[in-house]
Symmetry: none
Subunit: 141 residues, 4 copies
């Protein structure tokens, strides 16, 4: 057996609140999903004005970031035509989402969960997710 560390509901709420605040400051309503290190959803909110169809995209960005231990923007690069991960979007029954906005949450070099943000531009989604991840990391050194 091995022992692993995993985000719990308190972590999820903390990360979600940080993302919501960053989105509010940027005036970009978004869907925010927090999952554990296995990619399973812990908490989710769709802010007023965010697109309903972005809910699943946010959840899948979080799943993909936890699963691959990478920001989804890195996958976007690796999945371009001619690049090694070209075609990776079919993985996990089509749940792999290669658009920026999914960010893994690390603790001591290990992924303990991930955040996925969607409904803004991919750059905005990524900034919100990274801000939330950074704040959690600062509070959990």
């Amino acid at each position: 057996m091995k022992t692993i560390q995993r985000a719990d509901i308190d972590d999820a709420r903390t990360i979600l609140a940080a993302a919501r605040q960053a989105a509010t400051e940027m005036n970009v309503p978004v869907c925010i999903a927090i999952c554990d290190e296995a990619g399973d959803l812990i908490a989710f909110e769709r802010m007023e004005g965010a697109k309903a169809s972005s809910a699943e995209i946010a959840i899948d960005k979080a799943f993909t970031a936890a699963s691959t231990r990478k920001g989804t923007h890195e996958l976007a690069n690796a999945a371009q035509p001619g690049q090694p991960a070209y075609g990776v979007w079919t993985a996990a029954n089509g749940r792999f989402m290669i658009i920026a906005g999914g960010i893994p949450i690390f603790h001591a070099d290990t992924v303990i969960g991930a955040i996925g943000v969607s409904s803004g531009t991919p750059d905005q989604d990524r900034e919100i997710a990274q801000t939330a991840a950074r704040e959690w990391a600062a509070q959990n050194p």
Copy 2:
């Protein structure tokens, strides 16, 4: 055009908190999903100890209750062998969930959203969902 009323993020948080409290009092950790009247997810939490696989089930129970304007326990009856809705579980690409625990939220005889609860027994899930729906209705006459 027509004008409809729909649960917003504040409603979702209120209903989710009521469900969480009911679950805590019953000592049954559950996944709780709140969706709008179109079945699109607004808010979700997986309580500490609830099964990860119940996340999707809770979301789909909420979707099914909003979509059918019925508690999922009513569908369970209608979908028994020999009954008229036998086989309905394939609907919406398999998202129709006919196990108790999904309850529509009504306002003035109109569905404005739904709650889905999963990880307890179906009876427990239903009781938690109904308690939350009843509390919201009492606060929004």
Copy 3:
């Protein structure tokens, strides 16, 4: 709760008729789908001679335009290799359709539904959809 406006069956028939007329004048038989602002289908017709497989494509174009609040031709651009939405086609269980021909219907800056057209060339589909959307907007200032 919040109040939203949504296309009803009369709007759907008006938009569908306008699209049919535009298609007839262009001599391009098409599938025409009208959905509400949540992406759920309200009305559909496959004109004599239109491809049967275009039915689902038209429905998904309407769904995508309503969901993203954008014409699907804009998504076609944003989803090119190297662009920010590259990979978005997997969203909503593969229902996101990024080919021209899906157009959201706006009323006072809010999406109240969408039209999807398919079976012609993407440019023809888009022209038919835009003509119908424009006519409805002119009648509903």
Copy 4:
């Protein structure tokens, strides 16, 4: 954060070897899947003579047992017509497998993984899985 225990590759090999030996003694070639507590596959073998289509079934039995923290034969009962979990087979995109042969692996009352066996009769599959689970438990008190 929370700390959890999870089957590792050594556990998976031990459980798989015990299942293979039980199957050999019963002269029933089977597919054997071992997953971790999140339902993700760790090890798999298809014995000579086992049905190829049983591979996915074994994997899904293990997934279901880990996810529900129950033997899949218990779900078979709970999902009968008129029973509370009737309809549960659609869960997880249809991956919930309610046929006997999936057994969770417990350590100190916590699920740390699961085994799924398929290709024999459901009773044989269950016996092989339970034998393997029992042996691992005896070695890991």
